[in-house]
Symmetry: C2
Subunit: 340 residues, 2 copies
């Protein structure tokens, strides 16, 4: 089977630092290559892959300001889909945009919806509802679309070192933003008297939130901000933590950092929204809470959790399982296409 | 001949106030209908036309903030081009975006390039250089594109009342921005002691420029700001002016307000950039200057200009001439297509 993977051009694939969609695309592409599929990856020119690489955009447009995102999005997608006839299936990870070309191509396009950025993008999905879709959690589905499956994002579990002993600090890991609840993690730390380590990207649009709400709380002792960290530090931060705080205010489509934390053995206290109940088993690998008060109450109980259970749960979200999941979907599409 | 006109969805067609591309699209569409062509206009749902109207975006996305521009651009363009086979020619006024679909459609696409917003958009034009292009002035051309003609924008000259007597004030008419040189017009007024009337839109991104550089100069006497004005007021402003100041800092692709001013008999003092020498005849319908000092010097000489010459020049840029120009291009494309 010849597969075209239509990745993004926001960041290099795999991403140097932040880039969850690019991470999934990388893991899937390499996994398919390992299983002997003929794979072409459409991504930035500096991407690294053992698949064939096709590109028009030399670097991630967030990494090279000479590149206009609005221009290269159209060019990247059109150039990839002009080659659609070379593949049995094209698998898009580029949001709703490539859907607008699907009336022109005969090759089936599968779209993994890595989240709905806003209800304003629904008109495109509504028009092209009869394409093939995969959701990344059961919770993250829009009505009326032709979903074939949920395929959970796979994590390279082996890249995370398990630690069966709990550490002594709380962790906030991920983009710093109001939505992600960095300020809520700080409140939990202050109310429990524990240390909080914060690591993650401050994107331009969240700079004011960071400056106004987070910076004044950072004392370098109880509340520490470590910036963006490399893989080694990330690993250490996760494995040596007592608990990871995931107190977001929106329904997250998946929750990559939850799985990464579990892979290191660190339980997660997470708000009961979106995909959280699909990942965390209440009382066994973390706690699913409905309020800040509840989060504070659960901090003590984290010590009752067997960190081996966390690791075991994380292994379910392996890259292998993800690749297997997508292969099943590809096979199903091939079957459905014979009836067209 | 069945013609699809792919207009924009930034504003309604015709625009309620500002909207130069939408104005050209409207004038062309109605002109083609008048000549008996079978025309379909792709524009916002609230657009007004005697052609067939097709739409997916109910309102201009600048006029209705519930609409996401990035979403509706893709949807508007894909939906229009999915119907390309219904036409002998599709004529795009939607920048570079529809080019990315041209490898998928058989109907020839003609693109009028209403200006290059930035050199960053050139990669798309470079890839699709072998499409059909029209420039709106000889000055506004990129190298290597397959241009069939320059077709100047047509102005509804009859909508502007000629006045053979010069008024006593200077005029700045158009978007308020640094590029457009509102502050330069103020300097010329102050150095010549004349009154300046300013009218035009302050777009969001130019609000700071307006607040910092323009507002402190407005005294309601010598320097007057009238905001966005209706057609009647625009007409009066143009016809009763002494001279129109067009001291832009960039190479304008055309210069609609120059023609509108000339139509009312008012000469234009304009910076020697872009299309200006193609519109203004030096010393006869205005002055082409290279500096602010020169602009100040020329103000006195405006009185030597015969305002009838201005009106005559404006009539060259009529809607009829524009429509004739495009019909010639359409015929040429039909001829070229027979050799494909």
């Amino acid at each position: 089977m010849k597969i075209g993977i239509l990745g993004t051009i926001s960041w290099r694939t795999p991403p140097r630092h932040y880039g969850p969609w690019e991470t999934v695309v990388y893991n899937l592409t390499e996994g398919l290559v390992d299983r002997g599929y003929d794979v072409t990856l459409f991504a930035t020119g500096d991407s690294i892959t053992r698949a064939k690489l096709e590109w028009v955009c030399p670097h991630g447009f967030y990494e090279d300001e000479s590149l206009d995102a609005g221009v290269y999005q159209w060019l990247h997608i059109s150039t990839a889909l002009e080659k659609a006839h070379e593949f049995d299936i094209v698998h898009s990870h580029y949001d709703f945009y490539p859907l607008t070309f699907t009336r022109f191509i005969k090759t089936p396009l599968l779209t993994t919806i890595h989240g709905f950025s806003s209800h304003k993008i629904l008109p495109v999905y509504n028009k092209y509802w009869d394409n093939y879709y995969v959701s990344i959690s059961d919770a993250d589905r829009a009505e009326g679309l032709n979903y074939l499956a949920t395929v959970y994002n796979g994590v390279d579990v082996n890249a995370f070192d398990f630690n069966d002993e709990a550490g002594e600090y709380l962790l906030f890991f991920g983009r710093i933003s109001h939505d992600k609840g960095t300020h809520r993690a700080i409140k939990v730390a202050k109310r429990t008297g524990m240390t909080l380590k914060i690591a993650g990207l401050v994107a331009g649009e969240h700079r004011k939130y960071f400056d106004d709400f987070i910076v004044p709380q950072i004392d370098g002792e109880q509340i520490q901000y470590l910036g963006m960290v490399d893989e080694k530090t990330r690993n250490d931060l996760f494995r040596n933590a007592y608990a990871n705080l995931h107190l977001v205010s929106f329904a997250e489509p998946f929750g990559l950092t939850i799985v990464e934390s579990l892979a290191c053995g660190t339980p997660v206290i997470a708000i009961n929204k979106g995909s959280v109940p699909e990942i965390i088993t209440e009382g066994k690998t973390g706690f699913i809470v409905n309020s800040l008060d509840e989060a504070v109450e659960r901090v003590d109980e984290v010590s009752t959790i067997d960190r081996n259970d966390c690791r075991n749960r994380a292994e379910f979200f392996s890259i292998d399982n993800m690749v297997d999941g997508y292969i099943k979907v590809y096979d199903r599409i091939m079957e459905l296409e014979t009836y067209r």
